[in-house]
């Protein structure tokens, strides 16, 4: 009896020790994770924080040497109001919105259809073509802008904001197609076969089965196309020079930096306004975005 009790106690002690060591290991792992996360959060959030703070300051406060530069002591929206009233800024914003909407729509229509045919219709050379699509994505954008400049010049589209609606899809379509190929490939083959037997043609199959099922992937690709178009800097810089044709990214710095005069308050206010749409869209679609990327990654 007593020996049995001793054994039971020993077992319980071992179990406790194991539990404790597991719990402490977990605790240390969590400390490590938090420390790393804090460093990253500080690194990534300080610039936007400083941007927002500066945008709320008057020019006098920005150039003042005294006081804590990290806070706006007399916060004002005057930078935003002046900016919104500037006709140039209105052009920039409208142009960016217009080009982005067109880019997203065109890229998604092309890449969804391309991905569906490459992933599912299995025609001769489809897998080579799929690899080819991905390879085009590997060509750096900075190498392409000179030949593209020639093409746009030939088309008479230099200094016309619509040239971007032609150029951006060439950057967005390959990657979006690649994401969508991965996503469509992860959909079981039986689903198309069931749809075929139920009486669907390829178009109905795409519209009624594939697009709804692949919605997370489509949202991920849409966000990518949006980011390509909204944040592009090099192409508008190279192809546009009139203020009324300009988009936000280049417009802000070319309009608000004159020689060595930097209108910091307005530049920061413009940056906040320019960053707002992607932040809002990301915030709403983040869950879908992550689901789309991971699923494409593991099953594609």
């Amino acid at each position: 009896m007593s020996s049995a009790t001793t054994t039971a106690n020993a077992v319980a002690a071992t179990r406790r020790r194991h539990t404790r060591s597991l719990a402490s290991q977990r605790r240390w792992a969590l400390y490590g994770s938090y420390a790393a996360l804090v460093v990253f959060v500080i690194m990534f959030l300080i610039p936007p924080f400083y941007t927002v703070m500066t945008s709320l300051k008057t020019s006098a406060e920005i150039s003042a040497q005294s006081g804590n530069p990290w806070f706006a002591h007399n916060p004002t929206l005057s930078n935003f109001i002046e900016l919104i009233e500037m006709p140039d800024f209105q052009y920039f914003f409208m142009n960016s919105v217009m080009i982005t909407v067109v880019t997203v729509v065109v890229s998604m229509v092309i890449s969804v259809m391309a991905a569906f045919s490459l992933a599912r219709m299995g025609f001769w050379g489809s897998s080579t073509l799929a690899t080819g699509v991905f390879l085009t994505y590997l060509v750096p954008a900075s190498l392409l802008f000179i030949p593209l400049f020639q093409i746009l010049g030939f088309l008479g589209l230099i200094n016309n904001v619509w040239c971007l609606a032609l150029v951006y899809p060439t950057l967005a379509v390959p990657f979006c197609t690649w994401i969508m190929i991965g996503y469509f490939s992860s959909i079981p083959k039986e689903l198309d076969e069931a749809a075929l037997i139920d009486g669907a043609g390829y178009v109905q199959m795409l519209l009624k089965i594939f697009i709804p099922v692949a919605m997370p992937g489509i949202i991920a690709a849409t966000i990518f196309a949006f980011t390509v178009s909204w944040g592009a800097f090099l192409y508008p810089m190279a192809y546009l020079y009139s203020m009324d044709q300009m988009v936000l990214t280049v417009g802000i710095i070319s309009d608000l930096v004159r020689g060595d005069v930097f209108q910091w308050g307005k530049i920061m206010a413009a940056s906040v306004l320019a960053a707002a749409p992607p932040v809002i869209i990301y915030a709403f679609l983040m869950d879908y975005y992550i689901a789309g990327l991971t699923s494409g990654a593991t099953k594609g």
Partner: protein, 366 residues
């Protein structure tokens, strides 16, 4: 009018690998036919050719009196149930079942009526608003069947529909499939690798092996009179025992000699049939249930055999005893009351009235 005729159908990939090697099969109206065989025997390929999901390399497939070689799946008037259900994940159960009807522009009230009717048959009326994600495996399989039933097709095609279910549910769904067929009475082609499913469901079983049909017949016929060694070994669980033997003249007439020690008398009714195989190397096939605990009765054709038990598997209503004859594993099915102990010699009766004699060269049962 919904017969299916498969005439000299060949399926080959890249011109040389033949998955189906020219098979012929006539399936009658309202019949339930099960294609069974090991993986890679061509059964699924055959079903998919009937469905129109695979092209036919050569031969003809007829459905309901029309040749359908070049008819796309949607115009063949068939419905198919897949192994992994293939339900549309973004649609409710109702929409899953109604999808095919909507595409065919069936009026809404009729769609509702047909879906409700199928839901009643399958007892899934409560689930119509749910998404497939919220269903269990068995419920999903019911919905997949419902999707087939609402279409009122000429032919149902089932591609291993129960393979993804656990053992208990599989037995239950098997009964349901049989019940559904008895209710709607549609011509059915069902593919499985499970011979128990084949036996329990089929009006006729088609045993396939390496792209050819080995034998076609009602389940009992295949069980009792297999045409080939393959069918004899494939149908029945545990599988039939096969022992190399020699047909010889012995003391009481024709005998089957297995190895040196075991000499079994050929039953009188078979003597004439087996006489021509005298002095030839043959294979003796005997099902486990024809090797049972020894009773001291002198029924003709029953011989006493003794062997030390190797493994004893009590299964409740019966007990399986495994032992070796000349190094070949043999299984006997004995009464659970029999006292069998591994290592101890057990007297058994071999009922040769149910024996099969197989030609080793051709695999033919003679």
């Amino acid at each position: 009018m919904s017969q299916v005729s498969i005439r000299k159908v060949v399926k080959s990939y890249d011109g040389d690998v033949q998955a189906v090697k020219g098979i012929d099969l006539e399936i009658e109206d309202h019949e339930f036919v099960v294609l069974v065989g090991p993986s890679g025997c061509g059964k699924s390929t055959t079903l998919r050719m009937v469905a129109g999901l695979e092209e036919i390399t050569d031969g003809e497939i007829w459905i309901g009196g029309d040749i359908v070689n070049d008819v796309p799946p949607r115009d063949r008037d068939i419905a198919m149930v897949f192994q992994n259900y293939a339900l549309y994940p973004h649609m409710s159960v109702f929409d899953n079942m109604a999808f095919g009807l909507k595409l065919r522009k069936v009026p809404k009230p009729e769609i509702k009526q047909r879906v409700d009717e199928a839901a009643r048959i399958l007892d899934i009326g409560e689930l119509l608003d749910r998404k497939p994600k919220a269903l269990s495996g068995g419920q999903r399989q019911r919905v997949a069947m419902g999707r087939a039933i609402v279409r009122h097709p000429k032919v149902f095609l089932f591609d291993e529909p129960l393979s993804n279910l656990d053992a208990k549910l599989r037995v239950q769904m098997r009964t349901e499939i049989k019940k559904v067929h008895q209710t709607v009475n549609t011509t059915t082609v069902y593919v499985t690798h499970d011979q128990v499913e084949a036996m329990t469901l089929a009006d006729r079983v088609v045993v396939m092996n390496q792209g050819v049909i080995e034998q076609v017949g009602p389940p009992q016929e295949l069980y009792h009179n297999p045409g080939t060694r393959f069918v004899a070994g494939f149908i029945g669980s545990p599988a039939m025992n096969f022992l190399p033997c020699r047909v010889q003249n012995g003391a009481g007439g024709l005998t089957v000699r297995v190895g040196d020690s075991m000499v079994l008398p050929v039953p009188p009714a078979r003597k004439e049939r087996y006489a021509s195989f005298k002095d030839r190397e043959m294979i003796l096939g005997l099902r486990p249930e024809h090797l049972y605990e020894y009773h001291d009765d002198s029924k003709p054709g029953v011989a006493r055999v003794e062997a030390p038990a190797d493994v004893v598997e009590p299964m409740g209503m019966e007990t399986m005893v495994h032992f070796f004859v000349n190094g070949i594993p043999v299984c006997a099915r004995v009464d659970p009351a029999t006292h069998a102990v591994p290592g101890e010699t057990l007297p058994l009766s071999a009922d040769l009235n149910h024996m099969h004699l197989i030609e080793p060269e051709t695999g033919r049962v003679v």
